[in-house]
Amino acid sequence: MNKVNTRIRIAVQNKGRLMEPSLDYLRRCGLEFETEKRSLTAKCKNAEIELIFVRNKDITEYVKYDVADFGIVGQNVLMEKGQQFEVIRELGFGKCDLVVAIPNDSKVKSVSDLEHERIATSYPNTLREFLKKKKISASVIEIQGSVEICPSLGLADAVFDITQTGKTIEENNMKVLEKLASSEAVLIKNPNTKPQYEDMFL
């Protein structure tokens, strides 16, 4: 697994909503590879390129540490990490919105009513920044996943999360209070990677 042996390494989500579209995209770029279940890497048959399959939130770390040359990651993750990465393509898939949602029977009418409330999220940095901008003081409850369940359990008064169709929010008896940002998958590049390698991407 020494980087000297492979020319280029691309970090891709190992599971989740971006994985399949990311692989489709790379195939459209002309890369030929096979993915085996449980395998964490895949070598391309027609190029000196290796794919590595890692956790969504680690993709930026692999690129930052110069282990991967490129990574396919959601803008939502980049926002949360707060680090500057060179985005070379917006990929048009994996689209979603970052929203604040509240229970259908909530007394909250606008974002300013979130003052002093509990907001559950997996994106605490993004949420804190938003609250600062809106001058709202609130408790940011960090939850790793399934945040939509928190209000019904009495753990939070609102959630801040990504949503593609709004279905999960509806299913949990909630509604969108405000959309804060939208996101899609992007291709990021390691600053040490030579620019000519970008040419293979559509």
């Binding site: 003052e115 002093h116 409330e117 509990r118 949420l127 804190r128 609250l131 600062k132 809106k134 001058k135 709202i136 003081s137 609130a138 408790s139 940011v140 409850i141 960090e142 009495g154 753990l155 008064d157």
Partner: protein, 429 residues
């Protein structure tokens, strides 16, 4: 019985909790940065044999040194600065110390001044020194520490002015300034900011220095370090060049480090690189930090000579500058949370909540009387405590607490089990 006036001596100060919180906050930042760069703290005595302090600062300095006979008729003196006590400490201990030795020291010093605005009898000094090395890495490191201190304290437009005493002496020599007049010339040039170019020219002429106009012209800085260096190319500027390259590697922004060949700093023990920090937002405050390379600071206390590099931060001036800027508006001198006592029966449960908060490291206070809630809230308001916790019988029944934000007036009930996380996760905007 006669009541004694509760007064303090002129030229001394005392600080209430609000002021001390601000001062501690600044000191903590400064200490943290010092220790990040490997400086360890030391402290030296306040009471000293008079001969330790006297005779080190010239006649004027001696006059301003607090000295007196103690009850045993010994002659004692209080520190006039931290440099001499440090020199004595180092001379007494250098054989046991790892060399080079890096220390910081933040202590009070005393001046027997007639108190007036900006002149106190008792104030803090804040020094760092690296002693036992000639390396310019020490100078560069000190510049990095200075940069961090002022940046972290929120100074957005400050300059570290630097010059080399060696270079200054070279230039004096080329203008045929006699060696015995070099020190006086340096002191005169040091007044450039105070008395202006004309004043300096006149005083230098009076001293008998020739060609003063050209001398001053040679010393004047250009727009950039490179330009100033290239104008001085006939002199040996390698010291400044090396320093600049080290500072660059330490990522000190080039707009912060300014090479100013007119920078003199009056004290005559400097032998190499000297520094002075000014804030362009507070030009009236003058130098906020200064110091330089010295070669024989301990000479009076031991036979060996040690080269060192150190600067003193003007703690009181830094405080004034930050106060002017309104840097302390967010400082919370008191607890974060007030736990109220609802009635006689709920004292125990209030104490339990109080213990829960403090054991989790949340600074809290408990109200000491069973007063009307309104009075308890008023107390929180007066102390600027942002959160108040109320647990009436109804909340207690449900295992909940009411948490009130004094800032917005909003309140909400949450399970007691969520209280710690609620407060720790609170984002105060």
């Amino acid at each position: 019985m006669q009541i004694i006036q509760p007064k303090i001596l002129k030229g001394t100060r005392e600080f209430g909790t609000d002021d001390m919180s601000k001062r501690n906050c600044v000191m903590d930042t400064i200490k943290r940065i010092f220790s990040t760069y490997g400086y360890g703290p030391i402290e030296t005595p306040i009471l000293n044999p008079a001969e330790t302090i006297l005779g080190k600062y010239g006649g004027e300095g001696d006059r301003l040194t607090y000295n007196f006979k103690d009850n045993g008729n010994r002659s004692l003196a209080l520190p006039y600065d931290l440099t001499v006590p440090f020199a004595r400490y180092f001379a007494a201990n250098w054989q046991q110390l790892p060399l080079p030795f890096k220390r910081y020291q933040i202590q009070r010093v005393w001046r027997a001044e007639k108190p007036q605005k900006g002149r106190l009898r008792e104030f803090y000094q804040c020094d760092i020194d690296i002693i036992g090395t000639n390396s310019l890495l020490a100078e560069a490191e000190v510049a990095r520490v200075i940069t961090n201190v002022f940046t972290e304290l929120g100074f957005s437009n400050f300059k570290i002015k630097t010059n080399s005493r060696r270079l200054m002496n070279d230039i004096f020599e080329s203008f045929n300034v006699p060696k015995d007049k070099a020190m006086q010339s340096i002191r005169i040039i040091d007044k450039l900011g105070k008395i202006g170019e004309e004043g300096v020219l006149e005083e230098l002429k009076k001293l008998g220095v020739e060609d003063v106009k050209n001398l001053l012209q040679t010393l004047k800085p250009e727009g950039s370090i490179e330009a100033t260096l290239s104008r001085l190319s006939e002199y040996d500027t390698s010291e400044i060049e090396t320093l600049v390259s080290y500072c660059k590697a330490l990522q000190i922004p080039s707009e912060i480090l300014n090479f100013d060949p007119t920078l003199a700093r009056g004290l005559d023990y400097y032998t190499g690189i000297i520094y002075e920090v000014i804030s362009l937002e507070n030009p009236d405050l003058g130098s906020l930090c200064g110091g330089g390379r010295y070669d024989n600071l301990c000479g009076l206390f031991c036979k060996e000579s040690f080269s060192g590099m150190g600067v003193a931060f003007g703690f009181e001036r830094i405080m004034i500058a930050m106060e002017e800027r309104g840097a302390f508006e967010d400082i919370q001198p008191n607890a974060e949370v007030l736990v109220t006592v609802f009635d006689e029966d709920s004292i125990s449960s209030s104490l339990e909540i109080y213990e829960l908060l403090t054991s989790e490291g949340i600074s809290a206070e408990i109200y000491f009387e069973v007063d009307k809630l309104k009075k308890q809230l008023k107390f929180a308001d007066k102390k600027g405590i942002p959160f108040v916790i109320i647990q009436g019988p109804e909340e207690k029944e449900k295992g909940e607490v009411m948490i009130k934000s004094m800032k917005s007036g909003k309140q909400k009930s949450i399970p007691l089990t969520q209280l710690i996380n609620y407060l720790k996760s609170y984002e105060q905007s």
